[in-house]
Amino acid sequence: MSGTGFSFTIDGVAVAAEPGQTIMEAADAAGLYIPRLCDHEGLRHQGGCRVCTVKAGGRSVSACTQPAAPDLVVENETPHLNKLRRDLVEMLFHEGNHLCPICEASGNCELQAMAYRLDMTAPTRFPYLQPSRTLDASHPDIALDTNRCISCGRCIRASQDVDRKGVFGYVGRGIHRRVAVNADDLASTDASIEDAAIAAGTCPVGCIIRKRHGFATPIGERIFDKGPIGHDIEDKRRE
C-alpha cells in the first residue's frame, strides 16, 4: 500500500504491517491466529489476559498491545508459548466457577474453546478458588453471573466506548478485582438488551445472559462446533 509499510515475521512467515499496527492486528490481516481472550474487534486493547503472549525479538510481550516493528522476529505457535497460554487459561478456570455441561455458553464460549485449542486436559494442577458471587437477575431482559467472569473487560469497554453508557466497571484490587455495575444492581442502570455490551459475543464466556434466549442453539450448530477458535482468521490464509 503506502510507502511506510514494512514487514516482519511470525513463525518464519513474512507479515506486512503499517506503522501503529499491533503484532496481533497485522497477524489477523495475514491470516495468522494469535490466541486471545480480552482483545475483541472494535474495542480498545486491554492487555490483561496475557493469553496472546508471544516472543518478539526474544522478549515476551502481549501481541494485542505490542506495536509491530520492521524486521521483528515473532514466535507464536511454539510448545513453550502454548504451555504458558494453557497455564493462563487454567488460571482463569480455577479463579471462577465453571461447570461447562450445565452452562448455556457451552459451545459458544471462548474460554472453553481456547482450552480445547490448547489441548487443556483435566484441570487439576491448580487449586480451585471457588468464589461465591451473587447472581444479578434484577434486570427484566439480562442476567449477570460473574462467577464465570474472566476479567476480560470487554463488556466495560463496549458499554463505555460503543454504547456511551458506562454500565460496567472494575472495582477492587488484586484477586478481589471484579466487574461491577454502575448502580446498586443491573436493573437500576440504563443497560438495555440492545447494547453492544450485552450483545452475544461481547462477553466471551457465560456471564452476561440474555434472558429467555438460553440454550437457543442446538448442539452441533454452536459457534465452536463448527471449528476451533481462531479458524475464521486462519481460513483467510488458506483461501
Binding site: 492487555g47 504458558l84 497455564d87 493462563l88 472495582v171
Partner: protein
C-alpha cells in the same frame, strides 16, 4: 462535634454539600480524584455509596468509576472506619520483633480485634504492609501519625491515652506545638543514619548543583549526568542520563518531572531519611532535571504512609518559592519557571511502578500503563514525564555541584557513586548506610553488626534471599542489585515463614489487571502453605518453579515479573528447606519421616549444605 461523622442518614444535605465543597476545592477535576477521596475519607471516615454518587456528579464520572478508585487503595474504605484508625505494620520484620504481643495489647485496651471497628465508631484496628519504619519495628500509624519501637506496654498506654481523648500527635510527639514541621518529623521518627558517605548524607552546600546547572545548556546538564554513570536508585538501575535525554528529545507542549517517593518495597526506608534530611537537595535535583528536559511542572508522589512528612515537605517547597529557588524566574532567570505539587498516595505498593504512579496522579486506580509508550514519551496526561527516585534526584544535584568525574570515581565499573542501604532485621545497628557500590554483603554485615546472619534478603521481597555461602557477593548492579533494602535474618528464623509472608504481600498488592499476577500469586502462596503444613510432595517443587516461570514470563509489569523471587531464590539458595519438608509417600501419609535421609537426597542434588536448615535439625 458529637455527631457520628460516619452517619449520613440525617435528612439535611449537609454531607452532600460538604463533599461538593471538597470536589470544588480541587476544581471538580477528575484527575484529582485521589485527593478528593482522601479528603472524603478523612472527613467522614469512609466513602459511602452516597459520597460516590456526589463525587461522580461533581467530577463528571460514573459512580462505578469513582468506586473503582475508592476500592483500589487500602487507605480508602467503603465501610465506616473509626475516627482513629490504627494500622500496625505486619511485615515479617515486625512479626519477628514482637508484633503479636503488641497487637494483643491494642486489642485488649481498645476492646476490638484486629480488623474490627468499635461499635461507637471511635477506633479501627488494621494491619498494613511495611510502613518504612523497619529500623524501629514494630511500628504503626495512628491516622497520619507514626509511632515506633512498640512494646505491649507502650501499646497499652497509647490505647488508653487515645481513649482518654488525647490526640495522636500529642502522644507521639509530646510538646509538638512548639516545633517546626521538620522538628516534629524528626521527633516522631528516628533517622538512624549510621554511616554518612560523601555524596548524600555528609555536608551538602545549598543549591551548589543548581547554580552550576544554570551555567550550562540543558544538553550539557544531561551530558554531565550521563558521564557520571548515575543509575536509577528506585530498583531498576536505568541510566539516568539516558532517561533525561529521552524526555528532553520528545517534542511536546508540556513536560513533567515526577519524584517517586512511594518507597513501598518492604525493608526500604532510605527515602524516608532523605525526605526528612535532604528534601531541599531532592527538590534542587528536580529543578535541575526540569531545566535539563524543559519541564515547568513537577510533582512529588509521597506514599500515604509518609503523610507525617507532608507539612515538612510543603514548608520546604514554600521556603524555596520564597527564596526564588522554585516558581517563577528561578534564581532570577527569565523564562526559567518550575513548580512542584505534592501528591499523597493512599496505600498501594504498585503505585511505585512509574506507570501506576502516573495513573494514580491522573485520578485513576493505580494500575500500570501499557508499555510502550513509555512515560518519557507519553506519561502524565499524555505528556512526556520523567520519573526518578528520591535518591536519584539527590545524587543528580550533587553531581552537578561536584562534577561527573568525582561521582564516577566512586563505586565499581558499572555501578558508580554511592548508594543508601536500608538495613533492618537481626543486626545490632539497623538504619541507613551510605556506601560506595561494590562492597560485599559480608563487609556490610560486619558494619551493621549482623555477622551472625544466616540469610539476607537483598532488595526486599522482589529481590534475592542470599545464603551464607554467597555473602561474598557484591552489592552492585552487576551482582546483587538492590533498591537499598537489606533485611538480615538470623539462624533462628524460619525461611518458609518469611517466604509465606512475602507471597501474601504480593497477593495483597497485585493490582489484578493481568491473569498471571492476579491468580498465579494466589496459587504460589497456597503452595507455600502446603509446604509449611508438611503436605507437599516432591513434584510440588517442580510445580513452584514451573508456575513461577509462567508468572514471570507473562506478567504485565515489574510486580508480577519479580513476585516469584522469594520462592525462586530460596529454592536456589536454601533447597534443603523445601526438600526436607516434602514427603515422598504416594499415599500422602507420613508414616515415618527421617529428616536426615530427606536432607541427604537434597544435599546430593544441591551439592552443598544449607546452614539454616542443618543447624536446626542436626
Amino acid at each position: 462535634m458529637d455527631v457520628d461523622p460516619s452517619s449520613e442518614r440525617n435528612d439535611s444535605d449537609e454531607p452532600t454539600l460538604r463533599i461538593a465543597a471538597i470536589c470544588a476545592a480541587y476544581g471538580n477535576d477528575r484527575h484529582r480524584m485521589l485527593d478528593i477521596l482522601r479528603d472524603v475519607q478523612e472527613g467522614f471516615r469512609w466513602v459511602s455509596p452516597r459520597s460516590l454518587e456526589t463525587v461522580a456528579a461533581c467530577t463528571g464520572l460514573s459512580r462505578v468509576q469513582v468506586e473503582g478508585v475508592a476500592s483500589f487503595y487500602s487507605f480508602l474504605s467503603l465501610t465506616p472506619k473509626g475516627r482513629i484508625t490504627i494500622r500496625l505494620c505486619d511485615d515479617i520484620v515486625d512479626r519477628f520483633a514482637g508484633l503479636a504481643a503488641v497487637a494483643a495489647a491494642f486489642e485488649a485496651e481498645l476492646g476490638i480485634r484486629m480488623g474490627e471497628t468499635s461499635a461507637d465508631g471511635s477506633f479501627s484496628l488494621d494491619y498494613t504492609p511495611c510502613i518504612g519504619m523497619c529500623d524501629q519495628a514494630p511500628a504503626a500509624m495512628i491516622n497520619d501519625v507514626v509511632v515506633t519501637r512498640l512494646t505491649p506496654e507502650r501499646a497499652a498506654s497509647i490505647g488508653s491515652a487515645l481513649r482518654a481523648g488525647r490526640l495522636p500527635l500529642e502522644i507521639a510527639v509530646p510538646g509538638h506545638a512548639g516545633l517546626s514541621p521538620a522538628e516534629r518529623a524528626a521527633a516522631m521518627v528516628e533517622n538512624n543514619i549510621r554511616h554518612a558517605g560523601p555524596v548524600l548524607l555528609g555536608p551538602v552546600p545549598s543549591d551548589a548543583g543548581l547554580r552550576q546547572a544554570l551555567e550550562l545548556t540543558p544538553t550539557a546538564i544531561i551530558d554531565a549526568i550521563e558521564a557520571s554513570g548515575l543509575r536509577g536508585c528506585g530498583g531498576a538501575g536505568f541510566s539516568t542520563g539516558r532517561k533525561w535525554r529521552a524526555a528532553a528529545s520528545e517534542p511536546a507542549e508540556r513536560r513533567f518531572v515526577f519524584c517517586n517517593a512511594d518507597e513501598g518495597e518492604p525493608g526500604t526506608f532510605k527515602d524516608r531519611v532523605l525526605l526528612t534530611e535532604r528534601a531541599d537537595l531532592m527538590i534542587e535535583g528536580m529543578t535541575i532535571a526540569a531545566r535539563a528536559v524543559g519541564a515547568r511542572e513537577g510533582l512529588i508522589y509521597l506514599r500515604g504512609e509518609y503523610a507525617y512528612l507532608r507539612d515538612h515537605l510543603e514548608a520546604v517547597l514554600e521556603s524555596r518559592r520564597a527564596g526564588g529557588r522554585l516558581g517563577r524566574r528561578i534564581h532570577g532567570i527569565e523564562g526559567f519557571d518550575f513548580d512542584v505539587r505534592l501528591q499523597l498516595g493512599a496505600g498501594a505498593y504498585v503505585c511505585g511502578e512509574e506507570g501506576a504512579l502516573i495513573s494514580s496522579c491522573e485520578g485513576l486506580p493505580g494500575e500500570p500503563k501499557t508499555r510502550p509508550p513509555y512515560p518519557v514519551n507519553r506519561g502524565y496526561l499524555g505528556f512526556p514525564t520523567l520519573v526518578n527516585n528520591v535518591e536519584t534526584f539527590c545524587h543528580a544535584a550533587r553531581i552537578l555541584g561536584r562534577g561527573a568525574d568525582w561521582f564516577r570515581a566512586m563505586g565499581t565499573d558499572r555501578s558508580h557513586g554511592t548508594k543508601l542501604f536500608s538495613v533492618s532485621g537481626d543486626c545490632l545497628n539497623p538504619g541507613v548506610y551510605e556506601l560506595a557500590y561494590g562492597l560485599t554483603l559480608a563487609e556490610l554485615l560486619t558494619l551493621v553488626g549482623g555477622e551472625d546472619a544466616a540469610a539476607v534478603q537483598v532488595g526486599g521481597p522482589s529481590g534475592t534471599m542470599v545464603d551464607r555461602a554467597n555473602f561474598h557477593r557484591r552489592l552492585s548492579f552487576d551482582d546483587l542489585a538492590t533498591g537499598g533494602a537489606i533485611i538480615v535474618f538470623s539462624a533462628r528464623r524460619n525461611i518458609l515463614e518469611i517466604v509465606d509472608y512475602y507471597m501474601s504481600f504480593f497477593v495483597h498488592e497485585s493490582c489484578g489487571y493481568c491473569t498471571p499476577c492476579r491468580v498465579g500469586n494466589v496459587f504460589l502462596h497456597k503452595a507455600i502453605g502446603k509446604f509449611r503444613a508438611g503436605l507437599a510432595n516432591p513434584e510440588d517443587i517442580d510445580y513452584l518453579r514451573d508456575l513461577s516461570q509462567t508468572i514471570i514470563e507473562t506478567s504485565r509489569c515489574g510486580l508480577g515479573m519479580t513476585s516469584p523471587n522469594p520462592i525462586l531464590t530460596t529454592l536456589q539458595n536454601f533447597p534443603l528447606v523445601y526438600s526436607a519438608l516434602v514427603k515422598s509417600s504416594p499415599d500422602r501419609v507420613r508414616a515415618s519421616f527421617d529428616v536426615q535421609s530427606a536432607i541427604e537426597g537434597a544435599r546430593r542434588i544441591a551439592r552443598r549444605r544449607s546452614t539454616i536448615f542443618d543447624e536446626d535439625y542436626t
